[in-house]
Amino acid sequence: MFSPIAPLTHSITVYLDDQPITASKGESVAACLLRAGVAFNRLTPVSGAPRLPYCMIGQCFDCLVEIDGIGNQQACLTIVRDRMRVRRQNGAAVALEHSAQ
């Protein structure tokens, strides 16, 4: 859906669901995920529908992800850091799985 305008500079590594992906210093987590081409950054808690960033300016809250262990972080407002751990949010399915254990 998106491709880089200029070649990546100042590459760093972030982990998306434990897999290393390349990020560019200074970019937002949302831009990083869109460049990586993920199909979704979260599944909704109600119906499990996939979502990707919609507004990119902190108004829609569709780009929510877990960052370094804290859930519901706005990916469009968070700048990547080297070795940052990003997890996609899998809605209620995962929460229910946890509570069943």
Binding site: M1, F2, S3, P4, I5, A6, P7, L8, S24, G26, E27, S28, A30, A31, L34, R35, A39, F40, T44, V46, S47, A49, P50, R51, L52, P53, Y54, C55, M56, I57, G58, Q59, C60, F61, D62, L64, I70, N72, C76, L77, I79
Partner: protein, 508 residues
């Protein structure tokens, strides 16, 4: 200048002025106030100054690669025009600039709750300027939650700050100058839109002609230039469309709409939507500030004096002695960067006059505000809301967070939930992470649909802090203000003090 009521102890001030938002209005006000020796704190969500209009400008200008030069050329002179303002903002040593900081509460007495990473606290100033800008008008239509549907502003943000451009079939749908500007920017970057489908009609443009003013000619000429460029490039354009729907299961695959009586379907990889921009009212509403309905722009905006002074809707016994909040830029009234700069300056002059400094609002500033806003009646008439013109059908999602359809809300409204807060409490509409930013206007219009437009201003959800998610750890470590100093405004601001009717809630 600290004024406190008898009930509250005096609270030390962290600065003379706190400014929320670091776009053209916020930066201009900050520079002006700092030059007059005021201490200024600027809080902004973004990593660098500029707001959405001048987003990531410093970085894009500093890069000398040919790709970045091409990007700068595509974004155009109006983008580069912000460089000087940002330089002056950075150069001022009296401005305490705090990027990557979200604001989750503002109170009419000048208190501001902030969050940066996992640190949070309160700051207080004699005056707070809200210059937090605008958002795109919410456009509920079938499929608007699918991955691959994005707003025009989102795609522009990715160009400016994400080093990303769209690939594949790109379709732009909606109305307004931003849609056409983005289309020309994409074309200059080698991305030719597959289709631009507009809701506005030729007749809207004709009707708008009578609003043309000499001062507003330049933006109109610019817009016609964009259209001519796109035509020359052979971009397919349709106007006067209605009944848009995005199709697809896991992502958008096609868009369909009705134009000239025919149903059109176009395959796409990215569907860009835009229906004009509206003031972001999350902070003013959360602060209990008065709002008004702007019929011309079909949006709420804060009720302010011409020099930006807001007014509190709290009952008299809870009102601070003076409302410390002023609102400027697009957050007050949509006008674009130049209007924001003009009004930011005027607001700063009004504050300086209040502090006994400066010589009040200059006629030059007043004229600049009038001049820069003079094109608005033309634009409002030429690009009326289209995607959001008719209310969504029953199957369309209204509340993106809680996935509530218009049908679900209509059913509750029919059974008596005709009050916004009752509807919210019953359905969770507006209770998700976005806190109603994307569903409030539609919920209000659905209530009006059932009960008639009985009020001059559509009803709003009562805003409550925190208006943005605040991690528990940050809340536990809150710093900066003695809690007892805030008790009066936070604990006693309950509905029984308000005119709000709780009798609208049906009995169990």
């Amino acid at each position: 200048m600290t004024q406190t009521t008898d009930m509250r102890p005096s609270v030390p001030m962290d600065a003379d002025i706190i400014i929320v938002g670091c776009g053209p209005a916020g930066m201009t006000a900050a520079i002006e106030l700092a030059e007059a020796n005021c201490s200024v704190i600027v809080l902004d969500m973004q990593p660098t100054p500029g707001g959405q209009i001048f987003r990531n400008l410093e970085d894009n200008i500093s890069q000398k690669s040919s790709d970045k030069q091409k990007l700068l050329a595509a974004l155009g002179p109006a983008y580069r025009a912000g460089a000087d303002l940002i330089r002056r903002f950075r150069a001022s040593s009296r401005i305490d600039y705090r990027p990557l900081t979200t604001v989750w509460e503002v109170r009419p007495d000048g208190t501001v709750g902030w969050l940066r990473g996992v640190d949070a606290g309160y700051l207080r100033a004699t005056t707070v300027i809200l210059a937090h800008g605008a958002m795109e008008r919410p456009v509920p239509f079938p499929g608007w939650t699918l991955p691959g549907v994005m707003t025009a502003g989102a795609v522009q943000t990715l160009l400016k700050a994400g080093n990303l451009k769209p690939t594949g079939n790109v379709v732009l749908v909606g109305t307004g100058p931003l849609l056409l500007l983005l289309a020309t920017q994409l074309h200059k970057l080698g991305v030719k839109p597959t289709l631009i489908a507009r809701t506005d009609r030729f007749s809207d443009g004709l009707r708008a002609m009578r609003h043309l003013r000499r001062n507003g000619l330049l933006p109109v000429i610019k817009g016609l230039g964009w259209l001519a460029q796109l035509k020359r490039a052979g971009v397919r354009m349709v106007s006067g469309l209605s009944d848009i729907a995005a199709e697809g299961e896991q992502k958008v695959e096609a868009v369909s709409f009705t134009a000239k009586g025919l149903r059109v379907r176009q395959a796409c990889d990215l569907l860009v939507v835009h229906d004009g921009i509206v003031p972001a009212i999350d902070i003013p509403n959360g602060a209990g500030l008065a709002l008004q309905w702007d019929q011309a722009n079909a949006s709420w905006r804060p009720r302010t004096t011409p020099d930006g002074l807001a007014s509190s809707t709290l009952p008299p016994d809870l009102q601070p002695e003076r409302c410390a909040v002023r609102i400027t830029g697009d957050a007050r009234r949509i006008g674009g960067a130049e209007a924001a700069i003009a009004h930011g300056q005027l607001t700063a002059q009004a504050i300086l006059a209040e502090l006994g400094k400066g010589s009040g609002i200059s006629s030059k500033s007043q004229q600049a505000v009038d001049r820069t806003l003079s094109v608005r009646p033309f634009l409002d008439t030429a690009f009326p809301p289209g995607l959001s013109a008719t209310l969504p059908d029953d199957n369309t999602i209204v509340c993106r967070c809680e996935e509530l359809t218009a049908g679900a809300l209509r059913e509750k409204i029919r059974t008596g939930f005709s009050n916004m807060d009752a509807l919210r409490g019953e359905t969770r509409c507006g209770m998700g992470p976005c806190q109603g930013r994307n569903c409030m206007i539609t919920a209000a219009r659905l209530i009006e649909e059932a009960h008639g437009a009985c009020v001059p201003t559509p009803p709003v959800f009562r805003g409550r802090p925190p208006i943005r998610p605040l991690p528990l750890g940050a809340l536990a470590g809150l710093n900066g203000l003695d809690p007892s100093a805030t008790e009066l405004l936070t604990l006693e601001d309950k509905p029984e003090h308000d005119v709000e009717a709780t009798s609208d809630v049906p009995a169990e």
